[in-house]
Amino acid sequence: MLVLDLALKSLRNRAFSTSLTVGSIALSVALLIGVENVRAGMRESFSNTISQTDLIVGVKGGTIQLLLYSVFGMGSPTSNLSWDAYREWAEHPAVEWTIPYALGDSHRGYRVIGTNEDFYRHYRYRGGQAIALAEGRAGSEVFDVTLGADVAAELGYGLGDEVEVTHGIGEVGFLNHDHLPFEVAGILDKTFTPVDRAVYVTLEGIEAIHFGWEDGAPPMDEHEHTHEEVLAMEEIEITQVTSFFVGTTSRRDVLRLQREINDFEGEPMMAVIPGLALNEMWQGIGYAETGLRLVTIFVVLVGLLGMLVSLYTSLNERRREMAILRAVGSGPKSIVALLVLESVCLAAAGAVCGLALVYALLSAGQPIVEAQAGLFIPIRPPGSVEWLFLGAVVTAGFLMGFVPALKAYRTALHDGLAVRV
């Protein structure tokens, strides 16, 4: 206990260099744990983008491509599925519900998604949360549009505002469906998923704006339909969807259903299990993750090396102190213990301060990151990974303490009570 008392008093005596050392270790530990938290948050928000969907079905192609355009609103499908094929699977006995998606248009850079009331009824994200409306109602009329929370916030739209849809997926489309503007019927609650950055219309709405586009080019002016003409139609026939989400009646049927869809002879289509596909995709990104973690581990090592340098350089001016301790009966081992203990105290203080810093930064930065990056980083009590890191930092401090300690040990044995300078 005397050695601990000496170590603490000695560190306090060198308050400036002690606080610098603790500060640099704390920053590096904060970076390590912070990155770990952000990583976990990213992974969680990534794999929580959709939940309870058993299969995602689209045209045959790449698994990740299908996932990207139907879940993340990135990239574009090569072609669509026919409405009849979709209905055939929607009525399959193993299928409990489906959500049809018609993609390919945009509004000022945001994806426009044609869907129906099944989306509001069945879509689930982050542990089974349903889509909720912040304002208005879920759009169900042909020219109704429901906005994701970010779209409404960033473009400043309110209920009743007019929205034009652009053909294709770009910030500036040169082919506007401006003859058929939509009206904002509802705004969704924030979900921290790609839903926030999408614009939802009905499948009928998508069909309506493409009347006369069957050949892929806009109709001549005289063939354009007006609002009134569209509304006067008794029924708009839906011809195609891009992809659809499937919920099965029983989890056991998922694999069998997936195989059946993949073998479907009517049209080339494929079904993917979102959990597996998300995992596969994350593993692709995982290299960057490992790299990031390596970098932060090196930052912590640099922080600890700073401590080593500061302890080592202080040894020369402390030779007198060591000689005094020797004179009053300290063995060289006590000198080693003193220096190792100082090193452990510095590392532990740095680790604790770093942990506190992470939580302070997280609670201060959480709303900002949420607003700016759409990334929700959950604040949790430190888990096993964090404790492992902290333990590793303190252990590294312990081991590094032996470098100055062994030098002091040799000096103490050799110098005896004389201090050669």
Binding site: L6, K9, V328, G329, S330, K333
Partner: protein, 227 residues
């Protein structure tokens, strides 16, 4: 009368360097106030290191209080020093981050046997009593960095004396003091050594103090390895 220190055929060198000490014989009786003098380079500090058990002799016997330090392990010598020997340096005697009181109390906090020698008095009381005797009782709470050199040396003397070790080793403790203060310091040190019955081994190159001691040892005479 029994011997406090009995050196026979001591030889010592640092590593594989030249011999620094070659002392065929040196004996000091208990209660002696010995004055060891010699020019620098005559091995004074090295001899004190050997007598205190910090340095291990290469050859010979070094009996201190009847124990041969040459035959003890390093840890045993450290424990022996902690219990039986008080040491005063020439200067910079104090640990800068400890208070005066903590500096004085260091040996008894370090070693349980030395603490047991306080005869039931508390550590603080013992330190305060010694500080009073050496006329620094009002400095106990001060940080050591605020003390004058003379005050520092008295604190160092208190630390050497606490727990009444049998042997006090002082390595030129007065060389940084002016003459009047040297005598005053020595008077106080003698008084305390007398009170405890301790043997004092005092090293100096300043022979003006010689007359105050009961025995004088010329190091160049006893150390054949001296330059």
């Amino acid at each position: 009368m029994s011997l406090a220190i009995d050196v026979q055929g001591l030889r010592f060198r640092y590593g594989r360097g030249p011999w620094v000490l070659d002392v065929p014989e040196l004996a000091l009786e208990r209660g002696t106030r010995a004055f060891l003098f010699g020019p620098s380079g005559s091995g004074k500090t090295t001899l004190l290191g050997v007598l205190a058990g910090v340095l291990k002799p290469d050859e010979g016997r070094v009996d201190v209080l009847g124990r041969d330090l040459a035959s003890l392990s390093g840890a045993r010598r450290d424990a022996f020093r902690a219990e039986h020997i008080g040491y005063v340096f020439q200067m910079f005697n104090l640990i800068p981050y400890l208070s005066v009181l903590d500096n004085i109390a260091l040996p008894v906090r370090m070693n349980a046997k030395r603490r047991a020698r306080l005869d039931g008095a508390g550590v603080k009381e013992a330190a305060a009593l010694l500080a009073d005797h050496l006329q620094i009782g009002d400095l106990l709470r001060k940080p050591v960095t605020e003390l004058s050199v003379g005050q520092q040396q008295r604190v160092a003397a208190c630390r050497a004396l606490i727990g009444s070790p049998e042997i006090i080793v002082a390595d030129e403790p007065t060389s940084s003091l002016d003459f009047d203060r040297r005598e005053a310091f020595l008077d106080l040190l003698f008084a305390e050594c007398g009170r405890a019955g301790a043997t004092l081994v005092f090293v100096s190159h300043d022979r003006t103090l010689e007359g105050m001691f009961s025995r004088t040892v010329s190091l160049p005479d006893v150390n054949r390895a001296a330059l």
